[in-house]
């Protein structure tokens, strides 16, 4: 990693188009970014990847002026150092523009209004927008992109690939051809496959002119296919800076994004017993049609796949968090209809089904309330009297779980938001483990937690399985699945396409997820 800070621009006469150095960002006790370096060359398509919670969105917010970084950072564009925090006008003058998530278009407005948004020139006296001049300016940019759209039509009526062109046109209009930098922040999320191809064709032609592009994306597939170099963020730090994409594939990128734990855990013996605990019949939800599933006592079942393949929805449906279109779950002989709308997951909780959702602070714990309040919540009506919850069992249970999962600080009355992400996750897990559930469903249980917390969480999940709990883990993290699972189901377009059992290994899981004959042939060996 030392090589990172000493890297020189490919052409010594010209500085980097964008150079970020020594960038850190601290929020209260947590360090979201530490000493991040990033260099984008002229005429380069540079990818930026990382898992959720790795600091990627914080970095983008700093680059677009939403956050101010910790002192000591520098952001340089074409040798010109920008003021920090970044001021959008100065940034624009330096030639940097941003295309936000889902393209940032207003459907009710016309093409030219969208392209020129933020650039309108008003008449000196009338303060009116000169419609014709604006329209012509928009048309000029669109023509330059090789896509002469009718500037007067509403953006909402355009097909997806043309919407993307409008967004790009807005971003490039200030740059003379061959200059400037465009940051695409998860812009392609809403685009279909063919629209995406068209989008990258346009981007590629800009890059060939000499414009630079920083592409931030979750889709590793497109990163590998279209970018020249890639920078990988993990836990707020740069793990790989400007790695040539010729040297990577999706599997190796995945490992870099998650790799912190490759060596820290090994498989252990299985606790699978013979009795089934839970079974799902005819589940229809999202892309999934007619899934049957059985989980046995002590079994840890993994579910994984690409985004949109349906495994997440299955996990949510079988805990009552999401209403399915059809299906039944039976837990220890108790049947629950999965297609019934319910006011809450109470019936599932009573039946011994526990759910640890992915979005911790939105769906898992209430940040302003205390560790003890959050931890005991599912049991306050059952264990408490109608008129009194009772302090003793709460204190006892909280203390026991704090000790069991090593929650820091060990203060039952600390508001949850004062804890680190890993400790919040431990409280969330403890909230359900204290119930000794029959079926424990976890969605990305170790996302955005530090190494120590991950260790404790994995141990706690194993202990639950040892005690006879059936565990289902929905995750895109193959290392988690490999160290925890007895069996892994791989989803693709709503179908279980592979079932890995015995002792699924990380590489086997990654291969099964990305298994696509055409692509593996094109890219050569997939390790």
């Amino acid at each position: 990693m030392n090589a990172v800070s000493q890297a020189r621009p490919p052409d010594p006469a010209r500085p980097w188009r964008l150079e970020v150095a020594g960038l850190s960002k601290t929020f209260g006790p947590t360090r979201a970014l530490s000493d991040v370096h990033l260099q984008v060359a002229h005429g380069e398509l540079h990818g930026l990847v990382g898992q959720n919670g790795c600091g990627k969105s914080t970095l983008v917010k700093i680059l677009t002026g939403g956050y101010s970084p910790d002192p000591g950072a520098s952001v340089t564009v074409d040798g010109l150092r920008l003021d920090l925090p970044i001021r959008p006008l100065q940034q624009r003058a330096a030639g940097v523009s941003v295309v936000h998530q889902n393209l940032g278009l207003v459907d009710d407005l016309t093409v030219w209004e969208n392209v020129r948004l933020g650039h309108y020139r008003a008449g000196r006296l009338s303060r009116r927008i000169n419609r014709r001049a604006e329209q012509q300016a928009a048309e000029r940019v669109l023509a330059r992109l090789g896509r002469p759209l009718e500037a007067g039509q509403k953006v909402g009526s355009l097909p997806a690939q043309d919407r993307a062109v409008v967004a790009i046109a807005r971003a490039v209009q200030d740059h003379p051809p061959g200059s400037g930098l465009i940051i695409f922040d998860e812009s392609t999320r809403a685009l279909g496959r063919s629209a995406r191809a068209r989008f990258f064709q346009t981007v590629r032609s800009l890059v060939e002119e000499g414009t630079s592009v920083l592409l931030i994306s979750h889709q590793l597939e497109e990163i590998v296919e279209v970018t020249d170099r890639v920078t990988v963020l993990r836990d707020g730090a740069v793990i790989e800076a400007g790695l040539s994409t010729r040297e990577v594939n999706e599997a190796s990128l995945t490992r870099m994004m998650l790799g912190r734990h490759l060596v820290t855990h090994s498989r252990r013996e299985s606790h699978v017993q013979d009795q089934p605990v839970a079974s799902v019949r005819d589940l229809v939800v999202a892309a999934v049609t007619g899934l049957d599933l059985e989980v046995r006592r002590g079994e840890v079942l993994g579910m994984t796949g690409l985004i949109g393949s349906g495994f997440v929805e299955v996990a949510e449906a079988l805990t009552g968090a999401r209403t399915a279109r059809a299906g039944t779950l039976s837990v220890q002989g108790r049947d629950l209809a999965l297609d019934r709308r319910r006011g809450s997951t109470k019936e599932f909780v009573r039946a011994g089904v526990a759910f640890v959702p992915e979005r911790r602070l939105e769906a898992g714990v209430a940040g302003e309330l205390t560790v003890s309040d959050n931890l005991t919540l599912p049991r306050v009506s059952r264990r408490g009297g109608r008129l009194r919850i009772g302090a003793a069992w709460q204190a006892e249970e909280t203390a026991a779980m704090i000790a069991k999962l090593d929650i820091r600080p060990p203060d039952p009355y600390a508001p949850i938001h004062t804890l680190s992400g890993g400790n919040q996750q431990k409280v969330l897990l403890a909230k359900w483990l204290a119930d000794a559930p029959h079926l424990l469903v976890l969605h990305e249980p170790t996302q955005a937690v530090d190494v120590g917390a991950r260790h404790d969480i994995i141990e706690a999940i194993r202990a639950a399985a040892r005690d006879g709990c059936a565990v289902v883990i929905a995750s895109i993290d193959p290392t988690d699945l490999a160290v925890l699972c007895d069996r892994v189901l791989v989803f693709r377009d709503g179908q279980v396409t592979r079932e890995l059992s015995g002792d699924p290994e990380t590489d086997a899981i990654v291969r099964a997820v990305f298994d696509d004959d055409t692509r593996s042939q094109r890219r050569g060996q997939v390790d």
Binding site: P29, G343, K346, R408
Partner: protein, 342 residues
């Protein structure tokens, strides 16, 4: 907790903050915490001292005490009604004073204009207020109408209905025996003061110690977390609107009993004191959090301030200035406290 042992176990390198000994920091923070809990109560004591010096023989009298503590029962019921929905995360029910006025108009109109007995009329008045709560709840919780808009409409609507029922007049002439139920002296104060105390104590108890109260706090803090923990979120939200209506109704009966009648044009003047007290309450005892006991203290803090100013010879406009000013100050303080804690 053994600090050194904790450090040894720490797998990731400790952050700069964690490297400091946490003890003195938390002690200072604790002192600041205590100060912020009781700051308003301190100001209250200081205010009493200033008035006592400025108005010797006039302020520190039994009469002042009785005025402050004997006159705010309506406000106690109104603020608790508003708190009901605020606690479950509804922001904010503007129809509380109008519901109160609606109920307070029904009772004397039925008795005086239509010759009903007092108790049946009381029952109808309370049920009317509960019905308003049900309608508010259905609109906001089931249909999903914005709380402020729905309750603003309801408030104006009920205000009009009340004026129509009363023919724009004060309706009075309730049997004198009825008043005793609110005015009977207990320990130098009207018994209705103790109704208010009981309501506040009950509310605070429910919130702090019962499963229902815990569920209410979670629904207020995060609905999705509550739903996924098995709490019937919408049932609790609907229930809070109904309880709010019921509190308005009961408060109205007590106010009418004390006054012997009601003038529906006075309902509007209750809005600002209600809001000022509830928001001031967030700066008392549990900083940054809406709480019944803090609100209760807030009510008497505000009344003390206004009465003192009035005794100094300032006119009726003083109450508007004071309530409005305190509302702004209280909301500002609560916002700052909340931001500091997150």
């Amino acid at each position: 907790m053994d600090v050194t042992r904790q450090k040894d176990l720490e797998t990731p390198p400790p952050s700069p903050q964690a490297a400091h000994d946490p003890e003195p920091v938390s002690a200072a923070a604790r002192a600041g915490h205590v100060a912020s809990r009781y700051a308003v109560i301190g100001v209250w004591a200081a205010m009493i001292a200033v008035y006592a010096v400025a108005e010797p023989g006039l302020f520190l009298t039994e009469g002042t005490f009785q005025t402050v503590f004997g006159s705010q029962q309506s406000l106690v019921f109104l603020t608790m009604a508003l708190l009901c929905t605020i606690c479950v995360g509804e922001f904010v029910d503007l129809s509380v004073p109008a519901t109160f006025g609606f109920s307070a108009t029904i009772l004397p109109v039925l008795v005086v204009d239509h010759g009903w007995g007092v108790w049946p009329a009381t029952a109808v008045a309370v049920l009317g207020a509960i019905a308003v709560g049900v309608v508010n709840g259905l609109l906001v919780v089931v249909v999903g109408v914005n709380t402020i808009v729905a309750t603003l409409g309801m408030s104006t609507f009920l205000g009009g209905i009340s004026l129509w029922m009363s023919h724009l007049n004060t309706v009075s002439g309730l049997p004198t025996g009825f008043g005793r139920f609110a005015l009977h002296p207990v320990a130098g104060l009207p018994v209705s003061f103790f109704y208010g105390v009981a309501l506040v104590a009950g509310f605070a108890y429910v919130l702090a110690f019962t499963p229902l109260g815990r569920h209410i706090r979670f629904v207020g803090a995060n609905r999705e977390v509550s739903r996924l923990s098995g709490i019937h979120v919408n049932r609790i939200r609907l229930g809070s609107f109904v309880a709010s209506g019921a509190m308005c109704g009961v408060g109205a009966i007590i106010a009418v009993a004390a006054l012997g009648g009601y003038n529906p044009t006075t309902s509007d003047t209750l809005l600002l004191p209600t809001f000022a007290s509830v928001f001031l309450g967030t700066a008392i005892l549990q900083p940054g959090r809406f709480n019944p006991i803090g609100t209760f203290v807030g009510i008497y803090f505000l009344e003390t301030g206004i009465l003192g100013l009035q005794l100094l010879g300032l006119e009726a406009w003083v109450s508007s200035v004071f309530y409005g000013g305190v509302l702004i100050a209280a909301v500002t303080i609560a916002t700052v406290l909340r931001r500091r804690s997150t």
